[in-house]
């Protein structure tokens, strides 16, 4: 800017061109910020509404026209939510299910992913095709017999019924195989020459290198499990098994339908953990999505 200011006395065409280039280099296309900001507002408005609504007293919620900023912010909605809808146990259920499902996927999918990517064995192609082929099968096709199966295993009364069907997913295998394929074969050959056992190669050499892919798979699986709705809705027999989305959905279609404050507070509670996980691991997440998406 200093070079520009010394020349300010006589702004020529060249100066203006220079200035335009400077703006372009630091800002890009200035006019684009207006529609993008408008779009951003549309994207986050529901979240702001959710947050503001969760702290609104009942009078504000029923106000016509609606108030955006609570006149007297209160945490009453949250208190009532946790006492009346038993959100504490639903929250615990969601955490237990999501953590177990995530752990299972990290272990089982990386094991098979490594075998498919780097080991040679008969039936390898068949296993790969079988697992990848089921990526297209909708959950809907399996949920009826799965329900019968889980009910017959006497698991429909426990959280295990929510966990078991999701412990090993084809998507995880696909992701881990893609990533492990990109690691150099020489690493494994060198380890073999040094006398490292096959399983030790996986455990000591490959697994530490797959940390970025594991982080991606972990986040995706955690978010997926946390937000999963159809299966817990089908399997959960009573309130002690409800996960947060199930509890929230049933509350919103039941007699609490008009109690918007409580529902919005519930939405905040459902959203907060995934927001934290996402913001903490955003970099891994985006990088992982990008690498699996493009290969």
């Amino acid at each position: 800017m200093s070079t520009l200011s010394t020349l300010r006395t006589a702004p020529s065409d060249a100066d203006r061109a220079l200035r335009r280039r400077h703006i372009r280099q630091t800002w890009g296309q200035p006019w684009l910020y207006v529609p993008l900001a408008g779009a951003l507002l549309l994207m986050i408005a529901p979240f702001l509404w959710m947050l503001s609504g969760s702290f609104k007293p009942e009078a504000d919620i029923r106000a016509v026209p609606p108030v955006l900023i609570p006149t007297a912010p209160t945490t009453a909605n949250f208190h009532e939510l946790f006492s009346r809808l038993d959100f504490t146990s639903m929250f615990a259920n969601s955490v237990i299910v999501a953590v177990a499902v995530t752990a299972g996927n990290l272990v089982f999918c990386s094991m098979l992913g490594y075998a498919l990517a780097k080991l040679e064995f008969r039936g390898q192609r068949a296993v790969f095709m079988l697992v990848i082929g089921t990526l297209m099968i909708p959950g809907l096709v399996t949920f009826v017999p799965l329900y019968v199966l889980v009910a017959n295993m006497k698991l429909s009364g426990s959280l295990l019924g929510l966990i078991l069907p999701f412990l090993a997913t084809p998507f995880g295998v696909f992701l881990m195989r893609q990533f492990i394929s990109s690691l150099p074969d020489e690493l494994i050959d060198a380890a073999r020459v040094d006398g490292c056992r096959e399983l030790a190669i996986f455990w000591k050499i490959i697994l530490p290198l797959t940390r970025p892919a594991l982080a991606t798979l972990g986040i995706i699986t955690f978010l997926g499990s946390w937000n999963n709705f159809l299966w817990p809705l089908v399997v959960a027999q009573n309130e002690s098994q409800y996960t947060l989305p199930v509890g929230l959905a049933l509350a919103s279609s039941g007699q609490d339908f008009t109690r918007y404050g409580i529902l919005l507070a519930g939405s905040v509670v459902v959203l907060l953990p995934v927001m934290i996980v996402f913001l903490l691991f955003q970099r891994h997440f985006v990088a992982g999505i990008a690498t699996t998406g493009l290969k």
Binding site: G28, Q29, L32, Y33, P35, L36, M43, I44, F47, W49, I61, P66, V107, F108, M111, L112, Y114, A115, E120, F121, G123, Q124, V131, T134, M136, I137, L140, V141, T142, F143, V144, P145, V148, L149, A151, N152, L164, L167, A168, V193, L199, F229, L230, L233, L244, P245, A249, S252, S253, L264, G266, S267, V270, L271, M275, F278, Q282, I289, G293, L294
Partner: protein, 328 residues
């Protein structure tokens, strides 16, 4: 596991390098390990690594898929499901019944509208956002990226609840804002003309972030030298996009089109939470129909409906591969 033993037993074992002699000796109790070839050891390790996944996969994926197909071809109404073999085989009766049911046909049409309108809109919006963030602006990129992606990571149930309050005909924010401009907003979710379009727009709002993230990564992998060469040749921004970036984005576009399409064909959570499929079935999806049949104990009809959706998914995926695959 059978291929493991057949491959390891006829070992030409003693040919491998001497450095493995140490660890091999400790495994002396298992003679086949001692005599195994490098190939045999790999096979053994591979099956050990694959076994836990495959066991879970067989029990909770493959078995239900086959079972569901059998259910869709039988009459489960009178059967005791604890003995699933004790049912009568009825061929394609359930499928015939499905397509004779006006409600199912109506649900299929709603699903088709959801996909045909929603999918292109989602792809276009996500692509536009990605191009704007990649080439258009240089400041606050992270803010826009996180903001646009936020709906993707949110529970659909939480989103549905929030939108339901926003769209409340009387006290909702949407109609209040419209009122400022003198527009008397409709009843949205309670109006048969608006309920489905609103849900399609919600889906676009929710899913464009996924498309954006993958497209952004694709755009960033476009070599800068290629763009500069095109610019030197006098190609404008629009020409550079269609001529250089877009062909390279094709695999990413195919991936997002396929995954988003599969999701849209199964849409369920929004109508379940917001309208229960109403008003007058205007938001009833094929998946909701299947869920309702399941809830009524008609497991066979629900399974058949699941397979109809599965066939549609395969058809849509094949079509997308035809249209979007690289032409070489």
């Amino acid at each position: 596991m059978t291929s493991m033993s057949t491959k390891t037993l006829p070992g030409r074992g003693d040919t491998h390098e001497p450095s493995t002699a140490g660890p091999q000796r400790s495994a002396g109790r298992r003679p086949f390990a001692l005599r195994s070839t490098a190939r045999g050891r790999q096979t053994r390790a591979a099956w050990i690594l694959a076994a836990p996944f495959l066991a879970l996969f067989l029990a909770f994926m493959l078995l239900p898929v086959v079972w569901s197909l059998l259910m869709s071809l039988t009459d489960t109404q009178s059967a005791d499901l604890r003995t699933p073999l004790n049912v009568s085989f009825t061929g394609f009766d359930n499928y015939v019944r499905l397509f004779q049911d006006d409600q199912f046909v109506h649900a299929l049409r709603n699903t088709a509208v959801f996909v045909v309108v929603g999918l292109p809109l989602t792809l276009a919006a996500g692509l536009a956002a990605a191009v704007a963030l990649d080439r258009g602006i240089r400041r606050f990129r992270a803010v826009f990226r996180v903001g646009f992606y936020l709906p993707v990571i949110t529970s659909i149930v939480a989103i549905a609840v929030v939108w339901k309050t926003l769209l409340d005909p009387r006290a909702g924010l949407v109609n209040t804002v419209l009122g400022w401009f003198g527009i008397d907003g409709p009843a949205w979710l309670a109006d048969t003309r608006f309920a489905l379009p609103v849900m399609i727009l919600m889906a676009v709002w929710r899913n464009l972030g996924t498309v954006m993230i993958i497209m952004l990564a694709g755009l960033q992998s476009v070599p800068q030298s290629l763009m500069e060469a095109a610019e030197l040749d006098g190609a404008g921004a629009w020409q550079r996009f269609w001529g250089v970036s877009f062909p390279l984005l094709r695999p990413a576009l195919l991936l997002t089109a396929v995954t988003t399409g599969i999701g849209y064909l199964q849409f369920f959570d929004e109508p379940f939470v917001m309208t229960q499929g109403g008003p007058l079935d205007s938001t009833l999806s094929a998946t909701m129909y299947a869920y309702n049949q399941f809830g009524n104990g008609n497991y066979d009809v629900a399974s058949a409906a699941g397979y109809v959706i599965f066939v549609l998914i395969v058809a849509l995926t094949v079509l997308q591969f035809r249209v979007l695959r690289d032409k070489d």
